[in-house]
Amino acid sequence: MSKKLIAEANPLAALSPRAANAGSAKKPRQGQGYSARRGRIGLLFLAPWFVGILLLVIAPLIASAYFSLTDYDLITRPNFIGFDNYERMATDDRFWQSMKVTGTYVLFSVPFTLIASLAVAMLLKGGLKALSFFRLVFYLPSLLGASVAIAVVWRQMFSGDGLINGLLALVGIDGPAWVSNPDYSLGTVILLAIWQFGSPMVIFLAGLKQIPESLYDAAALDGASRIQVFRNVTLPLLSPVIFFNLVLGFINAFQAFTPAFIISGGSGGPADSNLFITLYLFQQGFGALDMGYAAALAWVLVIVVGLVTAVNFALQKYWVFYEDRT
């Protein structure tokens, strides 16, 4: 039963076509006139949202699509130039570099963060006395990690004469200048992402708590090993939560900006090794005032995130387990 709760409550499950009705309230039908009037009152409550979604989401989306087909520079009138901005990307080495950097970051930070958060959640769920203390400590980085302050600290920690090299020197290792070395710089940004494993961990812990103890007891009576229990009880019942963390992890990772900006001083360096797509579109739009090209880059980001999310949804039927649907 609790699995069903997870499935119903999972916001992403609500989006999948098989759960098209998940959003509707279960209420006894009343008279036709009554419910229509109530419906109109409901729409009144949504009034601010309607204005927001039209003025601040849909209109800007359309406008960005239009600007991406122009050479707008904020000063002179935009000229329509067709798909020139998109064609320009094909031969723009820095664009491809930004895709490579972003892709590398996403492919390393998302899986490692998920594995770390699940592993720690599994260790914590045994009911340690100090559970709430550890949960508190491990969650803190998630709250601080997106800040400029932490990015600054990170930059200092991984600089040539920073904390990390100070620690390495204690064991006789002469470390490189991590943040200013193109081979390692992106690695430090990925580490900063993994450091924030606490947020998915908290969600995993809540998910683990919903798995009925009786299933574990039954598995234990059957003599199942720890690994068998994990594979056959924990993983399937937790899969909707893993899916949720995975999808949101990807979406957020593609939009990472602050650490790369601070660590590289806004340049995306060294040698463009921290040139995230968000940073590149910032440079193009708000540095070079090439709003047309920046809008095109932003749309590419939207399309990439949309595709990755769509692929995630398409693949979920192979591994995500919703009790009420199988």
Binding site: I6, E8, A9, A14, L15, N21, G23, A25, G42, L43, F45, L46, P48, W49, G52, I53, V57, P60, L61, F67, Y72, L74, L123, L124, L128, V137, F138, Y139, L140, L143, L144, A146, S147, V148, A149, V152, V153, W154, R155, Q156, L163, G166, W195, V202, I203, A206, D217, A220, I251, F254, Q255, F257, T258, T278, F282, G285, A295, A298, V302, V305
Partner: protein, 283 residues
Amino acid sequence: MTRTLRARRAKPRVFTYVMMVVLTIITIYPVVWMLGGSIKPADEIFSNPSPFTASPTLQNYVDGWAGAGVPFSVFLINSGIVAGLAVVGNVIACTLTAYGFARFDFRGKNVLFALVLLTVMLPKHVRLISEYIGFANIGLIDTFVPLILPHFLAIDGFFIFLLVQFIRGLPPELEEAARVDGCTEFGVFWRVVVPLLTPALVTTAILTFVQVYQDFFSQLIYLNSPENYTVPLGLRQFIDSTSSSAWGPVLAMSSVALVPVVVLFLIFQRRIIDGIATTGLKG
């Protein structure tokens, strides 16, 4: 649970505790080191990796506070205004929206709710470029308006979702009773639902504050003059204008920047963690 089962799980406890303590040290070290570095004399910060010093000093805070040209207090006040008003807007607008979705039936509701969830997934940059052009055309660049106004229009789908989950968990009988007693629909919302929602509203307020307080991208594009800078911009200005060796004051101001978030976290940790857990599960 049976006795044998408990015995089986008792042994790995020691191992688990050791692991957790090691992980705690690794996790917390950057923050502790930052605090330690902020009170160390300049020559000591990188000569020893320990966060402790024999000769603590507050000079770094004195130097850092004025280091960006504009006193750091200006940045803190600006951030307070932006994040505070964003909280007010988000709490009002998202609560109204969530109540509309959770308790009323109307045509197209599923499609509209799917739209809410899609806004959670939409990279904000694609919106921000057009919004920036729009706000630039009506002369609102370098003001707080573009940073605050959107929050009064419920564009943060994440919180709408959080509150919908919470409202669905409330017993509808209370609202029915108020309705039978002649309460208007808005009266039901204001007198019955909002008081019951208080825990979720606290979560929304805290998480919104933290998010807006730390948001860098939009503040970076909208604010130009140092006296309008918020904390993230002030900090960035400071590191850009400081020689790379003056790390004491930089660490001191980083510590100051994190104080509001850490204090809120310590006061409201349960609410925050429960709120995060709720987003992945049920309310």
